[in-house]
Amino acid sequence: MPTYLARRIGQSVLTVFLTLTTVFLLVRLAPGDPASAYAAPNATSADLARIREQFGLDDPLIVQYGLFLRDLFTGDLGTSYSFHSPALDVVLDRIPYTVTLAVSAIAVTTLVAVPLGVWMARRADTRRELGANVLTIAGQSMPDFWTGVMLLTVFAVVLPVLPASGFTSWSGLVLPTATVAVLQLALVSRLVRREMTTALASSYITVARSRGVRESALTWRYALANSAVPLVTALGTRFAALLNGVVVVEVVFGWPGVGSLVVRALETRDYPLIQATVLVTATLAILVQLLVDLAYPLLDPRVRLGKAA
């Protein structure tokens, strides 16, 4: 177990590091000049040159990279060009909002998709199940920015019951959560349906049923428990993906998370901010994956970590 953990953490650190390096190079190869985004519209070339020097943008790429690595190990990710403050602080100001939205979206998805999937498995291939199936596909097929704007139109414009933007009260969480959840619903409910159909058809259920175990217990305690590992894996992957950016939904709802931040940072070529965002979100995402892996033995005692991998 400890060796397994060490190896996994090692791999994770390597992945984050490679991701960060890729991003470091890509943003600097892209056209655009952070100095001009930083400077005022009336800035002179001399101003720009001074800004570039201040940020070390004229150094050769390899020197910049070296300095970046040196600072990285001291926990310094540089000063954001557009916020004029430490990039990591800006990201940390924002990450709680993204985590909140991701948690809420995954919670709602789970609460709706699991019962729905179970129901679909038990009513497999009926007309109503087909209807539910088509509906979830429709949810998955709508562009997320459109779903968001539509929900906004209905619940904030036509019936002004929910706030349109930002997060100043809990009600502000409803529309973004709904938008994200609609997208995830189809994926998760189908997974549950597939796993549950398999589980309900297996022999241990038949045996249990023949011994008079109630149908509800069969479904929830026996069959669902056996589907836990793939379900948790899927939810974990979704969650990690959400942490990496609910970019579009955040933009639509003016959600002050890292998704809308990264769009802005990309536009203004705010290198330190882009790097800090990638570092934090990639770390979080990988951490979630790791936690999911570590949860397997708890969910299914047959699993032994490090044996299969």
Binding site: N42, D47, T100
Partner: protein, 528 residues
């Protein structure tokens, strides 16, 4: 006496940031972070709270680097300058009670009796001197570009000092409204993230990453007591969301409206749209770096093209009446601006003139940066269509903020013919804007710093003569003449001065919007 923290965000549970810093990311505690910090059970603001919805993120309450107009309202509620630009774009005294030009290069200034910061400590001459020094050291500052030179402070008493310049700077009282004063000890040549101010409000909570601030009344304010207890500043990037949030009462004031939002909000119950002629000029400026012999190097071709543009339709239909077609080379709301001519729409004439000038198969590339002015994309797409109607093969290239447009502007990117550009005058003076746009010299343009390559020596000479003229009426006369001369060079394909627009809930009273797109928060009241 206990020192209350000002401008410093109140201490938060240390666990969040510290934990995160050390790499222990994740967990429910993180998720709950913003929730505990979020006030109010509903989205609607309380009776004593004024909520402002800005469309750009206010990253700091210091103005050394971030300078967009709406921020000024909030920044000045916390930090003040010696003067401010008041109604009618006239300078008003704030921290100073005397600010006079006693010699062409010397201004005599006296600090107001009893002005103090929100911790009770007095504002001193040294604070002013330090502030000027710190602003001077910030590279790339917009404000610095406005000053022909920074004045030197020479203390003459505890509250009195001279501001000296090498050459006359007639508008120094206006310019100094941009230098915000903070205690000398805490001032640094960078954007301050915390610190004291002498304004009517102090910061009780700040999340600069998300652009959210809460201001509370400064109980030690030296001036009159502001009427509103709490001001909340929110960053709402999507324009449509600002409209919706104002409709529902979630926001009290939204500033810098786009023409479309103004149209949507006009006439709604409970909402008032305020407008005033603006101090900003939006232009479709020609590229003045075209080689000799290129059609656009010929003022007659530049003039001929202007007949292709249906300015009336653009103002009425695209800008929905929220702008005024330019009648001069700078907005007429500015002090010293004079009308010099008008744009006319006559596509037939445009075709004829272009043909007679041998420029009928002209290609025009129009470039601009997203968000350069409100309604930019619609204006550009409409202009493209109008140019194509007179047989000009036109194309658009849109840049994202932070893209390469500055390089293009300086003639180091690619070739272009017309650029969409907005130019503000935070001093309220025509002179500042004229110098910025038309005061280019060959020397400046060696580094690409002449505005769009506009280098016309006779105009530059007359401008600098006017700039250092100390006599007010003579200066006005010279400025008027130079504006006519500029107009005759046909610098723009089309130009307009957008009105400054703001929408507020009806419960917000006493909001006096100024052309510089700012207002005095102290005067604002909440009713009902």
């Amino acid at each position: 006496m206990t020192r209350t923290p000002h401008l410093v965000p109140p201490p938060r549970p240390p666990s969040r940031r510290t934990l995160l810093r050390w790499g222990a990311f994740g967990g429910a505690g993180v998720a709950l972070g913003p929730l505990s910090a979020c006030a109010g059970p509903t989205g609607a603001p309380g009776p004593g709270t004024l909520t402002l919805g800005l469309n750009r993120s206010l990253v700091s309450l210091d103005n050394k680097l971030n300078q967009f107009e709406a921020a000024v309202t909030v920044q000045r509620a916390v930090r003040q300058a010696l003067t401010r630009i008041g109604p009618g774009l006239r300078p008003q005294l704030v921290l100073a009670d005397r600010f006079e030009m006693t010699e062409p290069t010397t201004w005599t200034v006296r600090l107001r009796e009893g002005v103090c910061y929100s911790d009770g400590s007095p504002v001193t001459v040294d604070d002013v001197a330090t502030a000027l020094r710190m602003y001077g050291k910030v590279p790339g500052s917009f404000l610095l570009g406005l000053f022909p030179e920074l004045p030197a402070v020479e203390a003459t008493g505890e509250r009195t000092f001279f501001l000296r310049t090498r050459r006359p700077v007639p508008g120094l009282d206006r310019l100094m409204s941009n230098i915000h004063i903070t205690p000398a000890k805490a001032n640094r040549p960078e954007e301050l993230r915390s610190g004291l101010g002498s304004g009517p409000y102090r910061v009780v909570r700040a999340n600069s990453g998300a652009g959210e601030y809460t201001l509370a009344r400064n109980t030690r304010y030296w001036g009159g007591r502001p009427s509103v207890d709490t001001v909340r500043v929110r960053f709402v990037p999507e324009e449509s969301s600002r409209v919706v949030a104002l409709r529902s009462g979630e926001l009290d004031v939204v500033d810098t409206l786009t023409p479309d939002s103004a149209e949507q909000l006009t006439g709604l119950p409970g909402v008032t749209v305020q407008e005033i002629s603006g101090a900003r000029m939006c232009q479709l400026f020609y590229n003045f770096r075209k080689p000799e012999g290129h059609p656009l190097a010929d003022a007659r071709v530049r003039q001929a093209l202007t007949y292709a543009i249906d300015g009336t339709a653009l103002v009425r239909d695209v800008l929905t009446g929220t702008a005024e077609e330019a009648r001069g080379v700078v907005p007429l709301a500015l002090q010293g601006a004079v009308p010099t001519g008008t744009y006319a729409f006559d596509p037939g004439r445009a075709r004829r003139l272009l043909r007679s000038l041998g420029a009928e198969d002209l290609r025009i590339k129009v470039i601009w940066e997203s968000g350069e002015f409100a309604g930019d994309t619609s204006v550009m797409e409409a202009v493209l269509d109008m140019l194509q109607d007179v047989g000009v093969r036109a194309s658009l290239q849109q840049f994202e903020p932070g893209g390469d447009i500055l390089k293009w502007r300086q003639g180091r990117g690619g070739d272009w013919d017309v650029i969409g550009n907005g130019y503000s005058s935070p001093t309220g003076q025509a002179l500042t804007m004229l110098q910025g746009m038309y005061g280019g010299t060959a020397e400046k343009d060696r580094t690409g710093d002449a505005f769009m390559g506009y280098v016309i020596p006779r105009i530059e000479r007359r401008l600098s003569a006017a700039a250092t003229e100390v006599d007010d009426s003579e200066r006005e006369r010279r400025l008027a003449a130079v504006q006519h001369a500029v107009w005759d060079t046909w610098p723009s394909l089309w130009a307009f001065a957008p009105k400054t627009l703001l929408a507020r809930r009806d419960r917000v009273r006493g909001l006096a919007l100024q052309p510089i797109n700012s207002y005095d928060l102290t005067a604002v009241r909440l009713e009902g």
